[in-house]
Symmetry: C2
C-alpha cells in the first residue's frame, strides 16, 4: 500500500507523488478508467447513427451528512447525473467524477464512497471514465463535494421536452414522494426524530428506457430533486404553457413522511427525491407506462397523479378529496439546504 | 432585476424561486446555453466522421485567491479544461460548469467570474452548454469552487500519447515557466512580496491545433499545471519508458520567478502553470513546431528545452551549463496548495 496515513492531507492535492498515490489507490484503482491520459478517449459508435444527439449534463453534490440511510454522496452523484440524462430520453454512457476533499477527510470514508459509485455506475450501465481530485484546507470545505458530468446518446426520433406536453396528458410518478428529503432531515440528528425512512436514491436509466419502450408517445419527463414534485411540475407547466391538476388522494406518500412534515411545517410536495421522476404522456398510453414501470423495483409505486389541461399557463393546482383546490406554487426561499 | 440582495444566501441553493432567479440572471443569462432542459442536447456532426473519437475530461478549481493578477477562477476553469482537451489532440467543443458557492459570496464577484468565463469560452471557440449551482453554509466552502467538464473531438488519425514518445524526440515548451504559481503566491499577500508577475493562464486549443498542423508527427503533449514542468516530464518519461534530459540554460524562466524561488526555497520547475504545455516530437519537426507556436501570442516564448533518450526509464535529468547533471524527481509532498 503506497498510501500512508488515514486522513487526507494538503499534500494529497499538491500535484506530486502523494496525489498520484491517492488517485491510483483510492480512485482509478476502483474506477479503472481507460488509458493513462488525463482525458478519456471514447469511440462513438452509439453517436454515429444519423440523427442521434449527444446529451451532456453536470451536477455538484454537497449533501450533508455524507452518509445517510439508503445511500451516500457517491450514490447521489452517480444516480443524479444518470437521471438527468435519462429523463431527457438519453441512454447514459459515460460519467466524469471530480472530488473536492477537505483536509482531514478520512480515507476510509472516501473508499466507501468510491465503492458505492463504482457499484451504482455498474448497475446503471455507465462507466466513470475520467476524474479529478482537489484538496482544500480544513474549514474550507465539508468532508467531500463531488461533481459528476454525464454524456449520453439520444436516439433519432426521441425528443422529450416540456414544450411537447399537450392538454389531456396524464401525469405519472414512479413511486412514493419525499423519502429522500425526509431521510436526510432525520439523518442530520438535530431534530431528534427517530425513523426507519430510507432515501429513495436510485438510478432511473433503465426505468426510463422501459417506459419509452412501452409508450413511445411520452412527451416529457423530469427528475423531482431539489424543490420536489411541486417545483418540477411548476417548471414543466410554465414551459408547456399549460396548467396541471394533481389529485391529492392519488399522491403516493408514506404516512411517516406526512407525519414528519406535519410536525415540522413542511410540505411533502417540495421535499427532495433522488429516485423519482414525473412524466407526461397521452392519456391512452398512461396505463402502459405505469405497467412498464411497475415491472421494475424502482418503479414499483408508479401511478397516475393528475393531468395537464388548457388552464392558466404555468398554474399547478392540487384537487383535494373533498373537491376543493389549492395552488401549488414555486417554492420561495429555501425548504431544506444541502439535500443533494 | 429579479435578484434581491448583494450576497448569496442558502435560499439560492434551495431549488425554489430564489435559485431560479440567481441561475437565470447570473449564469444562464450570460452563458446562453441551448434549450430549457437540464441537459444540453447537441448535434454531433463533428463526431460522425469515421474514426473520430470523443475526448471527455473534468477538473475542479479551488484556487485561492479567487481573483489574481492575470486572471480569476473562472478563467482557470475554462482554460484548464480546454487545455486538458487540447493536449490530447482534441478540438474542444463544449463545456459544463458547476458552481459550489459559499453562503455570503458576493453576487458581484460571481458576475465578474461568469463574465470572464464567457469571454474565455468565446476566445477558445467552445460553448458552455450546461451547468449547476449549489450553496453551502458559511465556513463550509471558500467563496466559490468551479468544476468544468469538457467534450472535444479527436480527428481520425490523431493519436497523441506518452507511449508514442521515441528516443531522440525534442522536448518543447510554449513559453516562460512558473508565472502562474509565482503570481498566485504573491497574490496571497502573506509573503509581503511585491511583484508585477501575472498568471500565464491561457487557453491553448488554437496553439495546439497550429502545432499539429505544422508538425503532424507530434507524439505527445501535456499541460504543465499542478506540479509544474517537472511533474509532467516525470509522468511522460515513466509512461514512455524513456529518459528525458533538459538543458538548464534552455529553460525559459523570468528573473523575477527565479528570484522569488530562491528567496522561498522553491524550485521553479515544480511551479504550476496554467497556460503552458510541454510536447514531444521528432527532432526534425521541432523547428516547425516552434515556429508555428511563436506565430501566436500564447506561444511567443516557445523553445526547445531538451530531448528524450534511451536512458533509465522514467528518469528526468537537468544538464547544467557547466556540464553537470541532477535528477529532477517527482514532487514529494506539496509545494503550493490551492494553486488551481
Amino acid at each position: 500500500m503506497a498510501l500512508r496515513g488515514e486522513r487526507v492531507t494538503m499534500a494529497h492535492g499538491g500535484g506530486g507523488q502523494a496525489m498520484r498515490d491517492l488517485i491510483a489507490e483510492v480512485f482509478t484503482g476502483v474506477f479503472q478508467p481507460p488509458g493513462n491520459e488525463d482525458q478519456a478517449r471514447l469511440m462513438v459508435d452509439a453517436l454515429q447513427e444519423p440523427g442521434a444527439r449527444l446529451a451532456f449534463t453536470t451536477d455538484s453534490f454537497v449533501v450533508s451528512p455524507l452518509e445517510f440511510p439508503g445511500g451516500d454522496i457517491g450514490k447521489l452523484a452517480v444516480c443524479g447525473t444518470v437521471n438527468d440524462l435519462a429523463v431527457g430520453g438519453a441512454r447514459p454512457l459515460w460519467l466524469s467524477a471530480s472530488f473536492i476533499i477537505e483536509e482531514g477527510c478520512e480515507i476510509a470514508l472516501l473508499r466507501r464512497i468510491v465503492a458505492t459509485m463504482a457499484a451504482e455506475a455498474e448497475a446503471a450501465g455507465v462507466r466513470i471514465v475520467t476524474g479529478d481530485t482537489k484538496v482544500v484546507e480544513r474549514g474550507k470545505g465539508d468532508g467531500v463535494f463531488i461533481t459528476t458530468s454525464g454524456i449520453g446518446v439520444i436516439p433519432p426520433g426521441c425528443d422529450l421536452a416540456a414544450t411537447r406536453i399537450a392538454p389531456g396528458d396524464a401525469v405519472i410518478v414512479n413511486g412514493v414522494l419525499g423519502d429522500h428529503g425526509a431521510a436526510i432531515l432525520a439523518a442530520r440528528g438535530d431534530l431528534a426524530l427517530s425513523t426507519d425512512l430510507q432515501s429513495d436514491c436510485a438510478g432511473l436509466g433503465h426505468l426510463m428506457q422501459a417506459a419509452l419502450a412501452a409508450a413511445p408517445g411520452i412527451h416529457a419527463a423530469r427528475d423531482c430533486t431539489r424543490g420536489g414534485l411541486a417545483s418540477a411540475l411548476n417548471e414543466m407547466a410554465a414551459e408547456a404553457g399549460l396548467a396541471v391538476e394533481v389529485q391529492e388522494d392519488a399522491l403516493p406518500l408514506r404516512p411517516e413522511v406526512v407525519g414528519m412534515c406535519e410536525i415540522l411545517g413542511l410540505d411533502p410536495l417540495y421535499l427532495a427525491n433522488e429516485g423519482r421522476l414525473v412524466l407526461f404522456c397521452p392519456a391512452d398510453q398512461a396505463e402502459a407506462v405505469v405497467a412498464a414501470m411497475r415491472a421494475r423495483p424502482e418503479g414499483a409505486g408508479a401511478c397516475i397523479i393528475g393531468r395537464a389541461h388548457a388552464g392558466q399557463p404555468g398554474r399547478v393546482t392540487l384537487r383535494t378529496a373533498f373537491g376543493g383546490a389549492r395552488i401549488v406554487d414555486m417554492l420561495v426561499g429555501e425548504q431544506l439546504p444541502r439535500i443533494c
